[in-house]
Symmetry: D3
Subunit: 244 residues, 6 copies
């Protein structure tokens, strides 16, 4: 790393922001988690529905899918409401597809049976990293929904094959850093979102050069940072789930 | 009142649910309030925008408007996301028009100047009375946004002409009650939403017979209950605003 | 009442405009009524459909619902066509929901059986009070459709439990008046739409302060005016139905 | 003509249905005509707007355009409302484009100046031939709007270069007939809509074989019939315009 | 014909542009044809689907339908992508309805059985006459799809009752010409698209005066030209189909 | 690599399919390239527009953006037309955003000036790898459009800072392979799309585990394959551009 970049609040280059995972945040959903990565706050609910989309009907397999949204004033300046505009942006669709794929990667859909776990990730407050917070929180909500299914006797064993978490890494002013907040995200040259299992395997790697392209060596440094971050998030998820 | 109806948790017929008004709930908006009427929780933000919609351009007058939404799993069973469906329901539009009219009723738009106060009321958790909670919270958020404009020196005096609050009343099993929760709302014969100023004047009266029509005498009883509820809400709004 | 307001054409404060109810206005619908409140003209058709929407299927109950539209040049200046814009405005949805609820209030849906009465209220010419004219005319069209069902032997007794009519009242320059025409509607401080049965019971009360809020006492005066107007409309409906 | 086909009500093969052209049918539009071709009734309004669409701006030329709609229960069985479905059908778009082109054909757009004549053709009752009735009525409404512009002093001479009318012809059971009503339209092999000027020139010829293709000789017979019908319609239009 | 108009590249007034019909242009579709009328190039595919739209279900009859599109830069200046705009233009809908009707005219839908032949006509390069090229090419693709059905043993005899082709004719500077290219189309007074069978019968005649109306005599000259052009196209279609 | 997987047509694990880059495929666009990766064929056009989107206006900078579409029968079974459905799928939006970002990465937008290069990538035939073929072809089309701008004297030096190409890699039955065709894509565990410059720098890395997650070591093997593929594609692009 050349000329080290100094982060807001003196955060270390390889440090996560304070992460908080509050379960049972709302009362109706089978799983309901408010996850905070610093000032980024995402409400993740998991709803169990005893039906599957058409492409899974009659297969004996279940489905896990996600939707994502930002409250209009979760951002620095108000962004317009997608429901009022009448369509979801390309960015929204990309993110909710990513969340859905990431969660499906740790589900045995056959073991889930013909039902759907519908994840809703709604950003109450945004400060960078909403998609990685969403995946990290959605896993905990999904796990609570699975536990609900087990408690109800609707499932006799868990269809989860592991846990999943996500973190962003990036190169800001030539310096690789972990868990970018908004101010860093805007300034970065390369932005990468990494989704991994608790076994240290990759589920998604999405890296984008925003301005300056990156070398193979830089990519290696980013992956190192991400692996460290994911280990910490995995620990925090397990800790949260160990509570009531 | 014939055969008195017994309310959940032994609530008195003329009692509000516990009401909580938390200001500064999120960090970006000029006003941000989480209002709770029992288990109903609505996040109300007020955003100041230095422009007005076309119909007000060049008039020297400002505008106050509102949008409303429910998170998909704010409800007992998940309702589909309006952004994904590509349109807002008739119910959503009715409610956001009601919130906008109610708030405009206490604004001197000329004194506001050519700017907009955009209110966003998003239901995090629903248990009946979301529109009345939204109006009650939106007033507090709007007041915080006005104070921000005054502090910034963008306004030299407040364009607010009073305060506004809203409550529901209804007839459940022949008994008039104040502030219906979901279970009562589903069972009621008549449902009325009342919006009033702190001066005890009416802004909106919207009563609907859901099944059994109501008499002039019953309407009088409902209005009595509503006046009592609004007085209490007005007090709670002023108390919340007296804090930091 | 302070400084009495003088109405167009010297109309009395508590007088309806000339009301005309023409049945069999078009030939295809089971009920077809052109209703005029002065220059406001609304074509109300009632169509019998031998199916119900999904939420009523298999319940043994029928459904009554309404749609509302304005021809583009029914108004002083042309308004754009909702079919061309690709969506119905919030106002249109509010009105059609109101018409549907009002008519359902006088139907025993179980007695109707699993069929739908679809009401279409299309404004040919607008001069204030289109929604109240629509409800008043839709009742007559619905009654003709019910008589058609009885004549066809599809029903053996009427599912109607009474009749329904609607009227607007408002406060113009401090003076409560009945049945506002467009010029008065634009100038009024408070506008209230009242839907009542022939038994003098309320189905809907929708009052809105447009500018100046109103007192409990003013509301009482408005309800008195509305009750008078509805009695006259009920009489005119019954008279029209007594014809061929 | 082989085995002559017998028409409803004993109408002659080359006879129009009774045609009625009522001007000043509604009060707000600059031109407002209810045109009836037998049981087909179309309300045609012409609205003058002092602006032109983007493609004409700054050219010094005006524009003439049309929209078309059917009330949901103008037809034998109710068809769904396009405003509620959120889009106009291909048929609707075809028809409104045809009406617009037909009317533009008799306008000198330069002489009209930078303003728009917007025609709205709404079918109140349908029994075949709605598009030809619409064009025939729209001309009269457009002429009334032009006269209004002349009376207002907004134009000093008429931009109209002639009159326009339209009629349908078709081959039913091998027999060419004029002005098809619904029952004939459904049964016909070939359906042709012809738009002509009062000078006997063609503006549009749209013939479609619905089932059985047609010969050059049959086309000649259809054109003969159409020329006769258009002459009669032109006479009726001029007669109607000679009234108040 | 007065003052003879001189065509680009010295083309004779009654000459087609060079026509090319390439079968098997893409590999997946049951029929796939690239048709060129000079610089106009349209890819026509025919897809066999073992289902029919709702209105044909259970009738034992099949369906033939078409969709049409232009690649955004098939035109001189880029036109916006209809998928991105979220709707098909009125022109697109008119053309695809015309293609569908034209092809259905040579199909015995009963003999096709309850399956659909879906035609997709996508313009790769436009230079006038895209709809006539599309119909001419779609027939060849449809014929290849029918042959595929016969080879697969899904049909034992062809449901085709003839062949179909289409050509444009028009009056440019007072001169009737065959097969207008873009530059002529823009300049023409009258534009007519003719669809005919190999038996010399008419399926569609769509003539539009763009500016100057046309006489019965001019129409006769245009039909003569069209008949000549269709004969030549029919020959080229049969020749193409005689290849592999 | 464990149990080596045998590819269709005996292709080597690290071999590209036959790649063909045909310039000047259509006549209207400033750049027009048909690119083939085996049976995948994408038409890429580059259109120069002398305007920029709102977010770039007045900045002195240009813009480069892309749209993507598949012809309905470019695929094995017909997929529905997005223009007819009225919206682009999430997949389409993801891909066109990827193409746009990839191309912008090699443009100096300031040097381009306030104009837009609009890339349209339309899949004529699909067999896996359509987005990587699209990026690879779009670069060549963009380069032709830049050369056109230079020839026209609208630019005096090229705003391109390098070239860009893209390729897919994946793990099929445990074996890393280069440039997946459809049959391999469907069967693969991990799918990664890589976009690189001719300088060997990364622009985008998008890897997704479809079923089985992947290790850091597998990622390294995939990146090695991609680097080899991109070098070859870069060479082929330069070769194509060296022609007329």
């Amino acid at each position: 790393m050349n000329q080290p970049f100094s982060r807001p609040q003196g955060r270390a280059l390889d440090a996560l922001r304070p992460v908080r995972i509050e379960r049972h945040y709302t009362i109706h959903a089978e799983g309901s988690v408010l996850v905070s990565f610093g000032n980024t706050k995402v409400l993740c609910t998991a709803s169990v529905e005893e039906r599957v989309p058409p492409h899974q009907r009659g297969t004996g397999q279940g489905w896990v899918t996600a939707e994502y949204g930002m409250l209009p004033r979760s951002t620095h300046t108000r962004s317009s409401r997608e429901a009022a505009k009448g369509k979801q942006s390309g960015r929204t669709q990309e993110i909710q597809r990513l969340i859905g794929r990431s969660l499906r990667a740790v589900f045995d859909l056959k073991a889930l049976g013909e039902r759907t776990i519908q994840l809703d990730c709604d950003v109450l407050q945004a400060d960078g990293g909403t998609r990685t917070a969403a995946i990290t929180g959605a896993y905990v909500a999904a796990r609570d929904a699975v536990d609900w299914l087990l408690r109800q006797g609707l499932l006799s064993q868990s269809p989860l094959t592991g846990s999943v978490a996500a973190i962003s890494v990036g190169i800001v002013q030539g310096t690789p850093v972990l868990d970018l907040e908004y101010e860093e995200d805007v300034a970065c040259d390369t932005d990468m979102n990494i989704v991994m299992t608790d076994a240290g395997q990759f589920i998604e790697v999405q890296g984008t050069a925003e301005g300056v392209s990156f070398s193979r060596d830089e990519m290696a440094q980013l992956l190192d940072l991400a692996e460290k971050g994911i280990r910490e998030l995995t620990h925090l998820q397990h800790q949260a789930l160990a509570g009531r």
